[in-house]
Amino acid sequence: MKDFYLVYKNLTRKKLRLFLTCFAIFIAFLIFGAVTALQGALNSGVEMSADNRLVVFNKINFTQPLPYAYVNKVRSIDGVEHVTHANWFGGYYQEPANQIVTMAVAPESYFEVYEELVVDPQQKASWLANQAGVLVGERLAKVNNWQIGDRIPISSSIFSHKDGGQTWDLVVEGIFTANDPQIDTGYMVFHYKYFMETQSWGGDYVGWIVLTTEDPALNEQVAKAIDENFANSQAETDTDTEKAFNKAFIEQIGNIGLIIFGVVFMAFFTILVLVGNTMVLAVRERTNEIAVLKTLGFSSPRIFRMILTESCLLSFLGGLLGIGAAFLVVRFLSEMMARFLPNLVLGSDILLQALGYMLLLGLITGIVPAVNALRLNIISAFARG
């Protein structure tokens, strides 16, 4: 600790250089924090997927429906535990820009398959009893300030109501939560039967089927059995785990992981070169001073530690400011984009990762000048002037 003042004075002796170097580190950690939080938000669906949950879609693509009869056929396959189904409604509230994730589901089985969702039994009973009832996720209800008993007009950008228009009057019968705060509750579900009876296209189809297997080890076997069962039919199926489906869905945008790795790698590589070079120059300028310290009796390992401490301090100074700014940016964006990226948060895992990178950056950029100082010969240093 006695050397800390010396380290601090060395670090702050050239204010402009300190500012510019810190700024470079600040930007790198700002990018790291924001981009990693974005990756986390995009991947949260994948991470939260249940291990034993499978999704059955039309093989053509996931926008094509499946015959309703498939639901019972899937239920009869060995290894299947629970089965439910859902239809995409394409809902919005008041304005098309205000999109609401709305699905028409099988009310009895939906909560068997999605066990992580929690709903008060009384509210669930009320919902089951009311065909025009809707269960709203906690986050969605909070965003729109909806309460139980509210009558909410939800319009569809795809379907028309039999009575004309595209709006369904739904009644909030309950608000569901989840047993993990990371699980998204930014959507609503209403009765499949009511949807089919009231929409003008009619028909007897489902959007997709979701099922749980008795054991995750059976996933592959069950998926294969389902797809083989509907092979060469009018609507062939493509069955995959929920995790794989969510991952593939995200990757439609592109290989997010690779893009993010590229951005973060470039940012860190740039500051590594920049800060490393700055540290080497800063210490080289002090050759004479280091020789003086050694002459006075400061041991080489002690000077080595002082330089590493200085580079780590620099890294933590810029890094903590950067990650702090990233935290504010992410918090601002999470409020702005709550509907699209519900899990956009800069959590403790990212913070710990960032602290690790700060330490690594400090050690890597400080090691060369520290070793140079360690090896510095007093006589040669004074001879160089």
Binding site: E289, T295, L296, G297, F298, S299, S300, I379
Partner: protein
Amino acid sequence: MNQDNLFELNKVSKRFTKGKETISIFDNLDMQIKRGDFLAIMGPSGSGKTTLLNLLGGVDQPTSGEVWFDGSRIDSLSESQLAKWRANNIGFIFQFYNLMPMLNAAKNVELPLLLTNLSAKERQQRVDTALQLVGLADRAKHMPAEMSGGQLQRVAIARAVVSDPKLLLCDEPTGDLDRRTADEILEMLQLLNREFGKTILMVTHDPAAAKYATHTLHLDKGQFVREGGVPAEEVSL
């Protein structure tokens, strides 16, 4: 080793290898420095003054021979042991002061004390005393860039004496100063020698500076010579 001697060099040789050539700086050099002495070493450039100072200051080691300090051999100490030995026993005063530009006078003087176990309060007391001794108590918070050459050298002297070393090694301490300021610095060194009993070894080109010492040795081509260039068989003071 004679108890009156603080330093003894016994048959010390120092050679450097430059490419295929071996350059001998000293060959079987003997020397004794008595406790409480103020010794000036003079000699032309390349005579080995700085190398001698480096050997005595423990920043360089002889190729052969023995270096004794206060009853202990120091020529076989490791680098870290020498660093500790320097911190405990030697005060250095350089021609160009070699103060840390980012530290104020008080913090510069405190540097050798960071190597001790003294508390912050004790360190502060010692720094205040050292600065008072060199007449710069009112300049404690001044940065090196705000001080004259004479003041900088006085801060350097305060830094050299603050840890109460047994020996002060001065490398051309007045080489960068005008005559008047140089005399003030030399008077200060004389005071430290006479009043505080500090043993001082000063390397200088300046005959006027050497007059402040109690003894002067002339070094030429790695040998002590009498004034006028006559080789001395043995130098004992």
